[in-house]
């Protein structure tokens, strides 16, 4: 359902993505692993054109774009296949929780306001925020903000939700709650691409793991193949330095 071919992106002299390709099937949960600076953020930001790749072809659902001849209209159409959850939440600071969720639905999705509000209330309840619909971001804790961030992405019913380190900015004690919400979303069958440093979470939530290093995909496969059976030196040394400790219950 998602296919990426030959994706290249440089910032000035810094070639960040060196021809990346992968594919994701409908309902897949793909986690993207790699050290800081390896190009994970750049890669998923290219998928919804928050970053414009220099070269490459991206197909999401029935929409295919070629980076070298993409139009503004195609960018909007490609974005309409995706939604994103940000590391720093990036809620609209001038809007309350409910409006944060409805804004995209009303303006981008052209859904009538009352319907959008129903959708938003429903989703905010699912993420446990019914009591804070009117709260502005500055009145919410990090964990609460990220719940809104997840609801905002879910509301759009995109073909794929992109998560960029959704728990990296959170206090340790709330990370688990947010990961549980993401797991619940995954179980509901939504296609997702997740950048994360939470190795156990990655192992248990995804059915596909991609390991990226210095702008290249080093290895991809099932969590078992990458975490437990990898023969690649770079993967093995990355995992050895990560907080991943193999817990038998995950794979039994």
């Amino acid at each position: 359902m998602i296919e990426v071919k030959g994706l290249k992106k440089a910032f000035g002299q810094n070639q960040v993505l060196k021809g990346v390709g992968f594919h994701v099937n409908e309902g897949d949960v793909m986690t993207l692993l790699g050290v800081s600076g390896s190009g994970k953020t750049t890669l998923i930001r290219c998928l919804n054109y928050l970053e414009s790749p220099d070269e490459g072809v991206i197909r999401i659902d029935d929409r295919t774009v070629d980076a070298q001849k993409i139009t503004k209209k195609e960018i909007i159409e490609l974005r309409k296949k995706t939604a994103m959850v940000f590391q720093t939440y990036d809620l609209f600071l001038n809007l309350n929780a409910l409006q944060n969720v409805t804004e995209g639905l009303i303006r981008g999705g052209k859904i009538p306001k009352p319907d959008a509000e129903d959708i938003a209330r429903d989703l905010l309840e699912k993420v446990g925020l019914s009591a804070k619909l009117e709260s502005k971001p500055y009145q919410l804790s990090g964990g609460e903000q990220q719940r809104v961030g997840i609801a905002r992405a879910l509301a759009l019913c995109p073909k794929v939700i992109l998560f960029d380190e959704p728990t990296s900015a959170l206090d340790p004690e709330v990370i688990g709650e947010i990961l549980d919400i993401i797991k619940a979303v995954a179980r509901s069958g939504v296609t997702m691409i997740i950048v994360t440093h939470e190795m156990e979470f990655a192992f248990s939530v995804s059915n596909k793991v991609v390991f990226i290093d210095q702008g290249e995909i080093v290895e991809e496969g099932s969590p078992r193949e990458v975490f437990l059976e990898s023969s690649q030196e770079r993967t093995k040394s990355f995992l050895a330095r990560s907080n991943f400790r193999f817990q038998p219950e995950y794979y039994l």
Partner: protein
């Protein structure tokens, strides 16, 4: 000229000047209004580095920022005096410079200055909105225009409000300079009776008092607006 300060005459000047308060108010309001519109446009052009236009405005802003208000007024006045009749004739309109309301010249000159000044303030306010707000807006399918209208400008505007309020006060005061191009404002209004018998002290004192009352009142009103927006600034800080 028996007394040093003729109080009855002072009251007369006061009345004559106060009758012109609306002139200062509409000159200031119009100048700030146009300044806001063009200032925002210039700020957006510069923040988004629109090719060709952005460098042009950068130069214009740098040059015009240093021009004193009085000079700007005189330049526009002289330009209008030289060319207004020619232009009207060209279009076959029966309207001469003599008939032209000089307040319009003041509004144009002051609008240019406030556009320049406010563009700098708006530019700073727009730049203070974090890049993540654009990313988030685009990620929920907003277009660039929608992102600006519904997310970016509402966050930037409260930051620019204090400068905006200062500009409104400044434009009221600049109205006194418009008197130089024969706009009959508070100042010229207060001096009308004085011109007849050369009792200028009463005239100027009356003008000063009126200015003081108008500015103090306005400052009170604007303070309320500033307070309201200050709480908005905290939200986005």
């Amino acid at each position: 000229m028996s007394t040093v300060f003729d109080f009855d005459f002072f009251i007369e000047c006061l009345k004559s000047g106060a009758a012109r308060i609306p002139v200062n108010l509409y000159v200031a309001a119009a100048s700030v209004f146009f300044g806001m519109i063009f200032g925002l446009i210039i700020a957006l052009i510069r923040v988004f580095r629109v090719p060709v236009l952005s460098p042009i405005f950068r130069w214009l802003v740098t040059i015009l920022k240093g021009v004193p208000v009085i000079l700007m007024l005189l330049v526009f006045y002289v330009l209008a005096a030289d060319y207004f009749n020619l232009i009207m004739e060209y279009f076959g309109i029966d309207y001469t410079f003599r008939q032209l309301n000089k307040a319009i010249i003041a509004i144009i000159a002051l609008s240019v200055l406030s556009s320049i000044g406010l563009s700098e303030s708006f530019r700073g306010a727009l730049a203070s909105v974090k890049k993540g707000q654009y990313d988030a807006a685009y990620s929920v399918w907003l277009t660039k225009r929608q992102a600006l209208v519904y997310v970016i400008i509402p966050q930037a505007f409260p930051i620019a409000v204090p400068t905006l309020c200062n500009y409104i006060i400044g434009m009221i005061k600049a109205g006194a300079l418009a008197a130089m191009i024969s706009v009959v404002d508070i100042m010229n209004g207060a001096l009308i009776p004085a011109n007849a018998n050369y009792r200028y002290l009463e005239g100027y004192t009356a003008a000063a008092l009126i200015y003081w009352v108008v500015c103090a009142t306005l400052e009170k009103v604007l303070n309320i607006a500033e307070k309201r927006f200050a709480s908005k600034v905290r939200e986005v800080a």
